[in-house]
Amino acid sequence: MFPGLEKCPRSLLVCEKSSFEHEKSGLNNHVSKHYFNHKVSLVIPECGSPPPQLASVIQTFSKYFLVKNLPVYEFLEEDFLENVVRHGGLYALSYKTLIDQDNTIALLPNSQLILSVDKDTYEQLGLEGKASQYSHKCPMRYVVTVDLTDKSMAPGGKRYQRVLSSLKDRLPLKSDFLLARHRSDGDRVLQSLLSRYHWKDYSPVVSTHTLRDLSCPSLQSKDLHGDQCSCDPHSFLEWLGAVSNGVSCDNAATDFLSTYVCPEPKTAISQVLHCAVSGFLLPEDIYSLLQELRRYFDEPKFTSWLSLTVHGFMDSPVSWGDREHGFHKGGENFYNVVLFKNQDYWLQMGTGSNDKCPP
């Protein structure tokens, strides 16, 4: 009767394999272009406690700020624009704004200001933008992109004045913002901006737990698709999700809640370490964590692989680079890196319905 009912909302998973030793490895590019990350999950089989070097790298993750009621025009103030934004490397995302209902604002580290606004706000704001790519019959959401490094956006210029007057006088957009910059200590101008508003700094929250006596998939780096010696990527990601959420994969007869099983081929192992870091995490910090994870296999280990999952914000206006991200019934945009003993890696990038294909 309804063929459509059998299908879930569309999702995309792009998998690629390469090696850290390969000169054209695109991993750095993918990690650095995924700007807004809220959680990093580490799964290490046959490990009971976090290795000290790993723990110390996680401790060095950059702090981030939550600023309340920050007007968007502050990003265009001359002093701030010249000394902070133009240098790049500043990440800002509006806090607790839902991408499918509210106005969401983001500042990318390449100095692009993204305003994802609803129809009424767009018509009042008066800035040129494009209709959302995920509109249905008529556009209800518009995306305005302002390149703050462009010549036309020099203070005093016509376009600069127009954008500033729209954001200051015509429709003063305000929001709570999450702000972060890699190594932001002693940044005079950023501190002076923060001092004018109510702000608080936070460090990423780390939580660790060890699971015991469970089955774990066996993976071989050469079999990315899961044809012979590994399981397929979807089943592997489901298993990772079960481990992260503490869902048992026993499929015991008494358990009606979960029928998840560990995908074949599998091995029984005594313990798995699960470490989660959450906050407003920067790609630079994630990359340094990846480099440290490569060194994990310098000493002999029982396991031949470990996995790092990075989750993007569900309500971010962009997924990778400036690819538009939306929320239909889920806002997933994440990537999973599986590191192998032989310095090979798998990169699995996943997005949801209202998303373009990951790079």
Partner: protein, 241 residues
């Protein structure tokens, strides 16, 4: 997409229950139709007034000035002739579709298309389906019959809730739309974009051509006293507003 709205929540004189309903809806990010009370949860929830006319006879629907006092006007036609009249001529925002009984008539393409062209929306309530399994069958059957005719256009899904427990989250209702025959996008639009369109349609009923809005202006006493000295031709005609 627009924000989520529920355009049909039952009014009750029990203040506590009313407060519970509005709090529950605000908690789930809704704007709803009922009376009084506004509480800040995420954003201030807006409360509108709605009139639903159950029409079994053509004389039941007579647009009077009273209708203008309501933000939204809905009609629940019980016969095919009234359904045709409601779609083509009645000045309403919403046409309710029966969900707790067998449809007394079939939906024909021409009145349904006429309603779509006029910007009138068809409403399906989901609470009867929660309460009773027989009504669930009628709800789905009637909804599917409507979708075959209107192709998923101009449909809103509302609650008709009398108790806070009967309210459901907007994403759940968007999924329920799939059972009714709506597509993924249409289902979400039925609780957000389409409801916004109904709300705007209701506002334009009070205006001229949707762009001219009038309001009564209070005149200060001092101007009236000055009138006595001016000749009649020079007195401002301020009574007309």
């Amino acid at each position: 997409m627009a924000m989520f709205m529920d355009l049909n929540v039952s009014y009750t004189t029990d203040k506590k229950r009313l407060q519970g309903l509005i709090e529950k809806a605000a908690h789930r990010n809704y704007i709803l139709c009922c009376f009084s009370y506004v509480k800040l949860i995420r954003l201030p929830i807006k409360v509108l007034n709605r009139l639903t006319i159950v029409a079994t006879d053509p004389s039941h629907f007579r647009p009077t000035a009273v209708y203008k006092a309501y933000d939204l006007v809905a009609v629940f036609p019980k016969t095919e002739k009234l359904f045709h009249a409601a779609c083509m001529t009645f000045d309403v925002d919403i046409i309710c579709v029966a969900v707790s009984e067998k449809l007394p008539f079939y939906f024909k393409r021409s009145p349904v298309n006429g309603a779509i062209e006029r910007g009138v929306f068809f409403e399906l309530s989901y609470t009867p389906a929660i309460r009773d399994s027989t009504m669930r069958r009628y709800t789905i059957a009637n909804a599917v019959s409507l979708m075959e005719t209107c192709k998923g256009k101009n449909v809103i899904v509302t609650s008709g809730a009398e108790r806070p427990l009967e309210l459901r989250g907007p994403y759940d209702i968007a999924n329920l739309g799939l059972l009714f025959g709506l597509s993924e996008q249409d289902g979400k639009a039925a609780v957000s974009t389409n409801c916004r369109a109904v709300h705007l349609h209701g506002e334009t009923r009070k205006t001229a051509l949707g762009i001219i809005h009038t309001m009564k202006k209070d005149q200060p006493l001092s101007e009236g006293q000055r009138e006595v000295d001016d000749p009649p031709s020079k007195r401002p005609k301020i009574e007309l507003s």
